[in-house]
């Protein structure tokens, strides 16, 4: 095979056995790889009602066919499993160097099942794989684990691991790779911890075979040429200031979530802006494998009490820990980000859960004695201390470690948890970005900006512009965009480059650039229609898993605040999110019933006809 390595690694932790299996070529073609391959295995092998933290859950770590190639941003892998935060699936993805290394070791995907009786790590050395004891690594932070595993294996090995948060089953623990990159969302790190798997280390030295090198070079010259020309005209904002530069955009539209989503603008926004990060803490940019953008931030903080060095923060982090908590102290946010990376926590859910706690305290529902300290809006010291305590499940951190829905429910006010399907939102306010509301509500993993992010066309002008406040026209746009993201995630690419340079600049977003790279690399001869259909197939397969787990229209929801309380400030003042109107149209364009269940006709059309909707 080309592009695909042709091998998946079965890791049965209960028996301590690692078995290579050939990649099913039909599944690879229909589900592409990455996120698609993950749901392909979950649908067949996982009871949708299993305990997410029990041995019956399966964790799939899968690269795409473009991962490890010179395709721009061909750096990513996806972790698919049943989430301990939401009970839905999750498919969290990350870049860095680990995914490309895995492919170069000759592995497309790792399927982890069961539970090891003792802590172990998996060492893959150019395709030879073994489980090794990891008792001595248990309790170690991410950087400590990364260093120790490389010392025991190969200094140039790439490591994905959990920190103390994953070991302690924090429901939003991340899997960190290359120390700073996170498969952050929905508690994939807790699943890994529940299996007693501390780390996966890999060394791969074999280039990914490309089917048609001439065709690859031709498309590559064309695409990179366009990127370089645009970069000469103006350097990419993401390279210069990182993703936190987005603050100026969301603040300008009035969709920067503030004070646990009670406001859409933040008076202290300049303090958390990407330009401020550049001025105060940036050491240098960093790039994932094969990425020409380099949006990563290597930073250092010398502010007393917050000293540290690492990567970040990203936009989602400065929203969740910043405006959402009314904190404009970038030193505190950056320090809390470092702690999340070291302990293995999702920065979005961490910040959003703290914001929920702050509102509970502000309204008198959360006693100070329970927290063990005063908890007021804007308190950067509380952010840092409670982040550390959450990662270690110490004191009140043990409550925060359950996420905002369980927190708010415990204190009698679940409506104050700003979540969809139990997962906290990314930093775009749906009352001023209506399509975002529909995307959050229908995302298979709960609220996410990575499962089809209408902020691009509603707020950022990519690929073209649509009024963010309209809702009558959003259903087909959101559907197409979600299907596109499924293709991007499954191919092993990053959305940042792809949505601007590998997709036609039209709202129906035909992925002609992805198609050109994919065919040059794999030689599979996909047609455009087939590729678009694969995206739709993956989204429907994910929906099938959710339907079997009992999810319906009632779960495609947003908190009452976003549906009934008009936004009080900014350019979108007076708006609520018109979700119900959009949902009816969305299910129609999806070919789903009014209750959100894929119809037999739709499943048959996508080649999923053999899959029932019953568990």
């Amino acid at each position: 095979m080309h592009g695909w390595a042709g091998t998946v690694l079965r890791v049965d932790l209960g028996r301590g056995v690692v078995t290579p299996e050939p990649l099913d070529p039909a599944a690879a073609r229909e589900f592409i790889g990455g996120r698609g391959l993950g749901i392909h295995h979950l649908l067949r092998e996982v009871d949708p009602h299993c305990d997410p933290l029990g041995p019956a859950n399966l964790m799939v770590m899968a690269t795409g066919p473009l991962t490890g190639t010179r395709t721009p941003t061909g750096a990513r892998y996806t972790v698919t499993t049943r989430s301990p935060l939401t009970g839905a699936i999750t498919c969290s993805n990350a870049g860095g160097r680990f995914p490309a290394e895995l492919k170069k070791a000759g592995i497309d995907a790792i399927l982890v099942s069961g539970r090891s009786p003792e802590p172990v790590y998996l060492w893959i050395d150019d395709g030879r794989a073994e489980l090794r004891p990891a008792g001595h690594l248990w309790g170690r932070t991410v950087p400590e684990t990364d260093a120790a595993v490389r010392a025991e294996t190969h200094e140039r090995a790439r490591v994905a691991c959990i920190g103390p948060a994953g070991e302690r089953l924090v429901r939003f623990a991340s899997i960190m790779n290359d120390r700073h990159r996170a498969a952050g969302r929905s508690g994939v790190g807790a699943v890994m911890g529940s299996k007693n798997l501390k780390a996966v280390a890999v060394r791969g030295t074999r280039p990914v075979p490309v089917a048609d090198a001439g065709a690859f070079d031709e498309v590559h010259r064309r695409v990179l040429g366009r990127f370089l020309e645009a970069s000469r005209e103006q350097p990419p904002a993401l390279r210069v200031h990182g993703t936190a530069v987005t603050v100026m955009a969301t603040q300008s539209y009035g969709v920067l979530p503030t004070k646990n989503w009670q406001q859409g603008t933040f008076e202290g926004w300049r303090g958390i802006h990407g330009e401020t990060l550049t001025e105060r803490f940036l050491v240098r940019q960093s790039a994932c494998f094969s990425c020409p953008i380099a949006c990563g931030r290597r930073t250092r903080v010398d502010v007393p009490g917050y000293e540290g060095e690492g990567e970040g923060p990203e936009y989602e982090t400065v929203y969740a820990m910043g405006s959402n908590c009314m904190i404009d102290d970038l030193a505190a946010i950056t320090k809390a980000n470092y702690l999340c990376n070291e302990l293995g926590l999702d920065t979005i859910t961490m910040g959003a859960t703290l914001a929920c706690a702050m509102e509970l305290a502000d309204r008198g529902h959360l006693p100070e004695a329970d927290v063990g300290r005063p908890l007021r809006w804007g308190d950067g010291r509380a952010l840092v201390e409670l982040t550390r305590m959450t990662g270690l499940r110490e004191g009140f951190g043990d409550t925060l470690a359950e996420g905002s829905l369980r927190l708010a429910t415990r204190y009698g006010h679940p409506e104050l948890a700003m979540v969809s399907k139990g997962q906290e939102f990314a930093g775009y306010e749906p009352r001023g970005s209506q399509g975002m509301g529909l995307a959050y509500a229908t995302s298979p993993i709960g609220a996410s900006h990575m499962r089809g992010d209408p902020a691009y066309f509603e707020l950022l002008g990519v690929p073209t512009t649509v009024d963010p406040l309209s809702y009558e026209d959003k259903a087909p746009l959101v559907k197409d965009w979600q299907d596109l993201f499924a293709v991007i995630d499954s191919a092993g690419l990053c959305v940042f480059f792809t949505v601007r340079y590998l997709v036609e600049p039209r709202l129906d977003c035909p992925p002609t650039g992805i198609l050109a790279y994919l065919n040059a690399v794999t030689g599979a001869g996909y047609t455009l229609e087939e590729l678009v259909r694969a995206g739709e197939r993956i989204v429907n397969a994910e929906r099938l898993f959710l339907v079997r787990a009992g999810f319906r229209r009632k779960d495609d929801s947003l908190p009452p605040r976003l549906l009934r309380e008009p936004l009080p400030d900014g350019p979108a003042r007076g708006m609520v999110c018109h979700l119900d109107e959009m949902l009816d149209a969305y299910y129609r364009v999806r070919g789903w019933t009014p209750d959100g269940v894929p119809t037999p006709d739709k499943l048959a059309e996508l080649g999923l006809g053999g899959e029932g909707t019953a568990p």
Binding site: A249, E275, E314, E316
Partner: protein, 77 residues
């Protein structure tokens, strides 16, 4: 009339003195596109333009006190 302009990120190099925010004095009824032309922003440079926090037609006439925001296309993460 006086219009308030905000220019962010890498487009600040087109703002007077690289300032993030400044005022422009314009003839009453000046169109948005003409105000942008005053900045010297080449047509080839990709940008998102907002008028009072909303998308606006380039031909729309500006009013005293309007806020024009200009930034490059970016996306979060």
């Amino acid at each position: 009339m006086r219009v308030h302009v905000r220019v962010y990120s890498v487009l600040r190099r087109y703002a007077p003195g690289g300032a993030e925010a400044f005022d422009l004095d314009l003839e009453p009824g000046t169109e948005l596109a003409l105000a942008l032309a005053r900045l010297g922003l080449p047509d080839t440079v990709e940008r998102v333009v907002l008028l009072n926090g909303r998308r606006a037609d380039p031909a729309v006439p500006l009013a005293d006190g309007d806020v024009v925001t200009v930034f490059p296309p970016v996306a979060g993460g």
